[in-house]
Amino acid sequence: IAGITQAPTSQILAAGRRMTLRCTQDMRHNAMYWYRQDLGLGLRLIHYSNTAGTTGKGEVPDGYSVSRANTDDFPLTLASAVPSQTSVYFCASKVPGHLPRGKLFFGSGTQLSVL
């Protein structure tokens, strides 16, 4: 693993089903994020975690949950998927401390289609 790994790369899901998007990083970054990208809306923050054991809500958290049991993993769960959750999902982590402030490292994204 180098950087951030997301799985799956893409997924078609029936409405009402439960789905967990996986995100793993090997850079020991404390802060991690989940964004969704929709055409014309840019990237919007769903949930974030500043450190293992803590999470917070972003701009569009409804219908999603996250956990941060350890530094490396930050899964995103859709408890009961709806078509409006069709989107591209990006996981990201942030360089800590006095390194370039605010620079994010991104995973390659998950294309999710809810039918």
Binding site: G42, R101, L104
Partner: protein
């Protein structure tokens, strides 16, 4: 709350020419950071350039440069000698350390750049 506005949903440029992408933002903070990210069709998010608000000098990275106007809260990206590989979605983003953005990046809606051969 901080906001980032990209007023050009789409732009087009001829290969080898120069194009400028616009970005404005709103914040009450004096110390913050601004970024331009590139997203080619591969979906990968690539950091193009960053600017610290406390620096008056505009950042440059090879063919990419910014025009940072702090008083006007403007942060435009200039791409010189455009190449076919520059075709992508470009996102402007804002960050500060002070909790206003919860330590997270705030993105604009993006500008899709096409490069004509």
């Amino acid at each position: 709350a901080q906001t980032v506005t990209q007023s050009q949903p789409e732009m087009s440029v001829q290969e080898a020419e120069t194009v400028t992408l616009s970005c404005t933002y709103d914040t009450s903070e004096s110390d913050y950071y601004l970024f331009w990210y590139k997203q080619p069709p591969s979906r990968q998010m690539i950091l193009v350039i960053r600017q610290e608000a406390y620096k008056q000098q505009n950042a440059t990275e090879n063919r990419f440069s910014v025009n940072f106007q702090k008083a006007a809260k403007s942060f435009s990206l200039k791409i010189s000698d455009s190449q076919l590989g520059d075709a992508a979605m470009y996102f402007c983003a804002y960050y500060d350390d002070y909790g206003g953005s919860q330590g997270n990046l705030i993105f604009g809606k993006g500008t899709k750049l096409s490069v004509k051969p």
